[in-house]
Assembly symmetry: C2
């Protein structure tokens, strides 16, 4: 393991890690920042995204040796003291390890759908603009073995630093693709043999009464906004019964409840 020693926070070799909190807000050119051991492990395991550079608290290098040795050849690993790392990052980085990643090229939704197994569970996200929710949705997708996530054009970037962190790295391991503006996701899903279920407070069927088919797509929209009319008319609408008067659940929590229901027979059939 060849640790490249960094002692100066202004060292040009680690420019990619400088002030990462601020740079979340600007364009990122297919680069992203992965924080912490668990997330970096997701990046190393990812079939599509790849690590470019790693910055680590030198004290932790020995303990993390197996992970660092699993990096692709040629990925530089910079080591610095915690104090220098905090100066580079612009805040106290208690996780002690950062990686710069390069995201996979975008692929069409149809291509991703074509690669799914015969028994498949897919999430469809409509206008999910909150990075916490995006991370939570991916975390739940991974927990229940969903095969893919489809994002509409209005949904935020899963590779935003906070989404990656909240997802505990699962945005790097759960396959996803983004719909083009105006692309007919319901048509694509139907063509691929999926039955589509849209979560809605006014859904026709209670979740517990749904018998999951072999290929299911589950549509979640942003809280409060509701789904477009075409989703309510062209898909099976599903509700989660709740105590009277309470508005709604957080969308990530809803996804956990729905995925748990759909994944039960799914697990046992696999």
């Amino acid at each position: 393991m060849n640790l490249l020693n960094v002692t100066d926070p202004d060292d040009p070799r680690i420019a990619a890690f400088r002030d990462i909190r601020e740079r979340d807000l600007v364009g990122r050119e297919n680069r992203f920042i992965a924080e912490g051991e668990v997330v970096l492990r997701g990046l190393v395991q990812s079939a599509r995204h790849r690590p470019l550079e790693v910055l680590i608290d030198a004290k932790r290098a020995e303990k993390l040796r197996p992970l660092l040795e699993a990096l692709p050849p040629g990925v530089p690993v910079y080591g610095a003291g915690q104090e220098v790392i905090d100066q580079i990052a612009g805040f106290h980085l208690h996780r002690g390890i950062l990686a710069l990643g390069q995201s996979a090229p975008a692929r069409p939704v149809s291509e991703l759908l074509a690669q799914l197994p015969e028994k498949a569970l897919v999430l469809v996200l409509k206008a999910i603009a909150n990075h916490d929710n995006m991370g939570g949705l991916f975390r739940n997708a991974a927990a229940f073995g969903a095969d893919a996530v489809l994002l509409d054009a209005e949904s935020c970037d899963p590779l935003y630093r906070k989404s990656i962190r909240v997802s505990v790295g699962s945005v790097l391991t759960v396959p996803y693709a983004r719909l083009m503006d105006g692309e007919d996701v319901l048509g694509l899903l139907e063509h691929s043999g999926f039955r589509t279920f849209s979560l809605s407070p006014r859904g026709e069927v209670a979740l517990a009464d749904v018998v999951p088919p072999q290929r299911s797509a589950l549509v979640f929209g942003a809280e409060g906004m509701g789904l477009p009319e075409e989703f309510l008319t062209r898909t099976q609408t599903v509700s989660i019964p709740m105590a009277g008067g309470f508005d709604s659940l957080n969308v990530a929590t809803s996804s956990g409840i729905v995925l748990h229901h759909f994944a039960q027979p799914f697990f046992s059939r696999k």
Copy 2:
């Protein structure tokens, strides 16, 4: 409606609202800050907590008149421009309304248990130290009509500003009580006729196979820490089956999944 006009951010009458972001971190003397219309409505409806003062963006006063008129007599309502409010609060307060609340005196867990209906669903929280999770747990408790939340001595304060906000005000409406250090919650629950279920990745029974009894208590611990041995031996342990290798769900999401399961017969029996 008597709106007291505030033009100076240093006006001593609104000192309680000054720099609220910072003051989250210090002792709060049974006071809390409620932000936004929905949360303030929860506070007005609360049987135990009460509003002391309100600060509102004067432009919104007319629209919020019904809510303001539902305040108890004698609660002063201060009106100011958005700019002055932002200076008072110390950040941009897009919700445009703040209330200072006084929390109800603490009550023993046994007293709260004695007040519950014959059919009852209770959450028991062990060492939940994260305010986001606390808010999410209460939000889900409200959504599924849980009757009470019991907190151990190590869990954080539900009336911390962020918890209130994440709970969408439900920390103000769902009854709760805090256990004294060393108090035997399992004994108290058993004495009150509750059957207790502890969520654990190594739980003996899968959630979907549990038939909820008339009185259920659901125990959630902090992620990663696991529950103390006595909970694993003295209660029915329950697991949420997940896809291989994925560590765990967020604790608030887990509570949503479990509450959904337990609330189904609960709703229909009521």
